[in-house]
Amino acid sequence: MSHALTAEEKELALLLIDVLDLEDMSATDIQPLAPLFDPSNPESLGLDSIDALEISLAVAKHYNVQLKADDENNKSIFHSLRSLSTFIHAQKA
């Protein structure tokens, strides 16, 4: 699997940076496979549950895709930038 961002992932990364106010980051700072939420992993963005809700709202507005799944599915969808991007574009297709 590639560690470079696809165009879709870059767009999503920019959205996350904007919504989450990560002003000291650029899109390429986000590793596509790094966990978004695991604070014990140094590569992780260390996001929390409130961030997850902010992302849900932003994704609904920006892509018109609703992340309405139950908690179990959310874990895999929200795992990384790549998993989130893949889910969004699968829903849009």
Binding site: L20, S49, I50, E54, S56, L57, A60, L67, A69, N74
Partner: protein, 258 residues
């Protein structure tokens, strides 16, 4: 299971802590009589028979904010939340959706469905998975509703913070505050105080215009907001002790955290 004896003991414990004095039987009796009166009134209010009540509203700038809509209204088991219905009906036309744990309030919800099915439709189940709930609440806010949530009672498995209430640590749930933070909406504390006879008074206190403005300090900002709410709750409890309707051991986990 709440027995009559446990309820009497919890009334006595609360009144002792709020007054700082020994509590007589007549005080406990008055406490339960106030609760009985407000509980009966509740049926009439839920049947939309509001015109038999005299409901005072202090029309200050915070009330104007609520009238403009799109606020999180944090409420408590102090007085009658139901008189807030006056805002949504003939007097003011301010719609309110209620965030309620339907599972833990199953009896109330069933009763409401039979008493007033239209009102039951205004209930949003707080057990909805969080991402969907955030989207739903966002939609309701955009449509011009306020969202009301009880924030003084903590159910098992709920996230909470522990703060001193009347000098002793108690648990307060955090999720309503987190949603307010995500939605970046004002948070207003509301109380429907029972004043005696058929009189109620609506009181509003602004807690924050926006809990979600600063991501890095968000947790601290939410914590401060809850602390502020607990202080307001305490002030109202001291001023209107017989309006306190948490008839269970409110400080239940005190011994386990000491």
């Amino acid at each position: 299971m709440i027995t009559a004896k446990a309820a009497v003991n919890s009334s006595r414990q609360f009144l002792q802590r709020v007054t700082g004095q020994n509590v007589s039987f007549s005080q406990v009796f008055k406490h339960f009589m106030t609760f009985a009166r407000v509980s009966v009134d509740r049926f009439f209010i839920l049947k939309n028979r509001l015109n038999q009540f005299d409901i005072l509203i202090s029309e200050n700038e915070i009330f104007e904010l609520v009238k403009k809509r799109g606020c999180m209204l944090v409420t408590s088991h102090l007085g009658s939340f139901d008189v807030m219905r006056v805002l949504a009906t003939y007097a003011q036309d301010v719609p309110i959706k209620i965030l309620l744990d339907v599972k833990h309030n199953a009896k109330f919800f069933t009763m409401l469905q039979s008493l007033n099915p239209d009102l039951a439709k205004q209930i949003i189940d707080s057990n909805t998975p969080a991402p969907k709930l955030a989207l739903d609440l966002n939609g309701l806010i955009n449509e011009g509703s306020n969202v009301g949530a009880m924030v003084d009672r903590c159910f098992p498995n709920e996230n909470y913070v522990e703060l001193n209430f009347l000098g002793h640590p108690a648990q307060f749930p955090t999720s309503a505050w987190q949603f307010a933070s995500v939605l970046k909406i004002p948070v207003v504390a509301c109380f429907g105080i029972y004043l005696g006879k058929n009189q109620y008074k609506l009181e509003f206190r602004l807690i924050s215009h926006n809990l979600g403005a600063n991501r890095k300090e968000r947790h601290q900002i939410i914590q401060q907001a809850i602390q502020e709410y607990v202080q307001i709750l305490e002030d109202f409890a001291v001023k209107y002790p017989y309006n306190w309707f948490n008839f269970y051991d409110f400080w239940k986990n005190e011994s386990s955290c000491n």
